[in-house]
């Protein structure tokens, strides 16, 4: 889904729309704070974009999130992925009110820093 596509929350008073870019920025900010994540993996995004490595999709009335990350070498990858998935799902739900249908964490690479 291209950036700018809007997600809607409906209520009796009308709709609130939240663009995919907003969701992607929240995902990016959250993921960069997650323990074990040393970089977002670049796919088709320019290097410095805050939404790099993040794809937002729609599934019925909810959103799906794919994020591509680079994890520090020597960490338990399953646990790091689990934390990222929980935290991203929690923060997006908390900040946007959207239903998060799926958070797919793709560990594209591991890196040994320091």
């Amino acid at each position: 889904m291209e950036a700018g596509h809007a997600h809607a929350l409906s209520s009796t008073l009308g709709r609130v729309t939240i663009s995919s870019d907003v969701v992607a920025r929240i995902v990016g900010e959250t993921a960069r704070e997650c323990y074990g994540i040393v970089a977002m993996a670049g796919r088709k995004w320019l290097p410095d974009r805050p939404t790099r490595g993040i794809e937002i999709g729609r599934d019925g009335d909810g959103v799906t999130i794919d994020l591509h990350v680079v994890v520090e070498y020597g960490l338990n990858l399953a646990e790091v992925a689990s934390t990222v998935r929980n935290r991203v799902g929690y923060e997006v739900g908390r900040l946007t009110g959207l239903t998060v249908k799926a958070v797919e964490v793709h560990i594209d690479d591991v890196r040994r820093t320091g």
């Binding site: 009796t12 008073l13 009308g14 960069r32 704070e33 997650c34 323990y35 074990g36 994540i37 040393v38 970089a39 994890v71 520090e72 020597g74 960490l75 338990n76 990858l77 399953a78 646990e79 790091v80 992925a81 689990s82 934390t83 998935r85 929980n86 935290r87 799902g89 929690y90 908390r94 998060v100 799926a102 820093t113 320091g114």
Partner: protein, 541 residues
Amino acid sequence: MKRALNGDLEAVRKSVDAALASLEANRARIDDLNVYPVPDGDTGTNLTMTVRAVDEAVDATSAADRRSLARDVARGALMGARGNSGVIFSQIVRGAADVLGETGAAAIDADAVARALRGATDAAYRAVRRPVEGTMLSVIRELAEEAESQAPSQPVLGDLLVQLVRRGEEAVARTPEQLQILRDAGVVDAGGAGLLELVRGVASYVTGEPVPEAAPIEEHLSFDAIHQELSRYTYCTVFLVEGKGLDREQLESELEPLGDSLLVVGDESAIKVHVHTDDPGAALSIGTRAGTIDRIEIANMHEQTLEREERLLAAVPDAPPAVSGVVAVVAGEGNRLLFESLAESVGPLAIVEGGQTMNPSTADLLRAVQSLDAAEAVILPNNSNIVLAAEHAAAHADRAVEVVHADSIPAGLAAMVAFDGSRSAADNAREMREAVSAVSTGEVTIASRDVQLNGIAIRKGEWLGLAGGEPVAGGDDFGDVTYAVVDELLQGDKELLTLLVGEDEEPLEALLGRIADAHPSVTVDVQEGGQPHYALLLSAE
């Protein structure tokens, strides 16, 4: 008796045992602290599982030298890491083990501890791009700094460890200053608190005596810490699928619809599944279709949550005694709840049932005033017919009482927002009167008798709309009458329209659409008031 902590296996085993025991004793408390990164109340449990894995690794190791022992310990932490705190802890262990593994045969002294803690800190910070302060990370860093500042004076190992416990206590106590979410929830960081307990355990082993907390830290847990959101699914389900040629992606897509927090990891011969679901049976069935299942763990997360809420509620301290309280005359269950929610953690509130056709007596109001656990009181009559009884009650009460002339429930709610139990009744009354004068209120009801309005006759049984106590519209169409009231109330610069729906609910969709079209900048808040007689109570501010 003092024991030296050297690199030999026995000392490591006993240190890990002591650390684990110290952590396990605090596991439930640490679970309760957990609000970051996700408030799921499992930090103590995760950290305990991780340390238990280290414990098993040192029990099972056949390492002959310090270097291979260090490697086995680091590997045990990596493999056993559970949750975010477990992953960070595994890096701390690895960083420390890398340093201690290279110390040859020399005894572990203060200098080695300082270098190990520095190695642990570096390893822990290395693995995160944007370190969050106020977590385990800041606690391990402060421990390293403390050890480095003590090392030049070559303290005895036991003394150094006790000093590290003290510094750790300070660092943990400071975490709410560093991380907003902790401050909001009124807790210290769970991971940091867990790390401190591990250090305390090791210190107890080395000194041969318990290292109690410096001073009992009173835990002021707020309601926010209790009501943090949790998974909407009931069961945390974990199992292992074994077989040949297992298709991980296939398994994942089959499990996906069952719940959230899905994790399917492994290879063709063994896959570990973790899912939060309401139907663990379905998850297990999917597993058995793919292969044989083993190591099944199903935990009722809601039960854990309830237990946690109960523990936390028991720990919430009593509020300081209030200077003033409120007596509010309220009709309707929904309106009562609104008043109660506004008073919650602000000051004492006594509700007296009553309204338009059921006026409470002076004695009822007086009883309510004297029931308040506060030195002074404010009465909100919420109906002009009750003001006089309220004035009488104020004159006869055993304490200072102010009457704020709110003549409708919406006006009373506006006044309630301005109430603060730590202020005197006179101060509150001033603020509350100001709040009342800032709102316009209206009512929609059924005319109880024939009335004349601008030359138009409204017959008994028709809808009657009032704004500011004056009739402004009438007729047999609820939507038209109500809209006329809304239009009147929104004159001037109004931003918020509150609608309290009566016990006989009238459909509102068409009305809300009309308001949204004509007044797009006004926020509309619809609440279940449940009051009798008035189909709708309105206020605009």
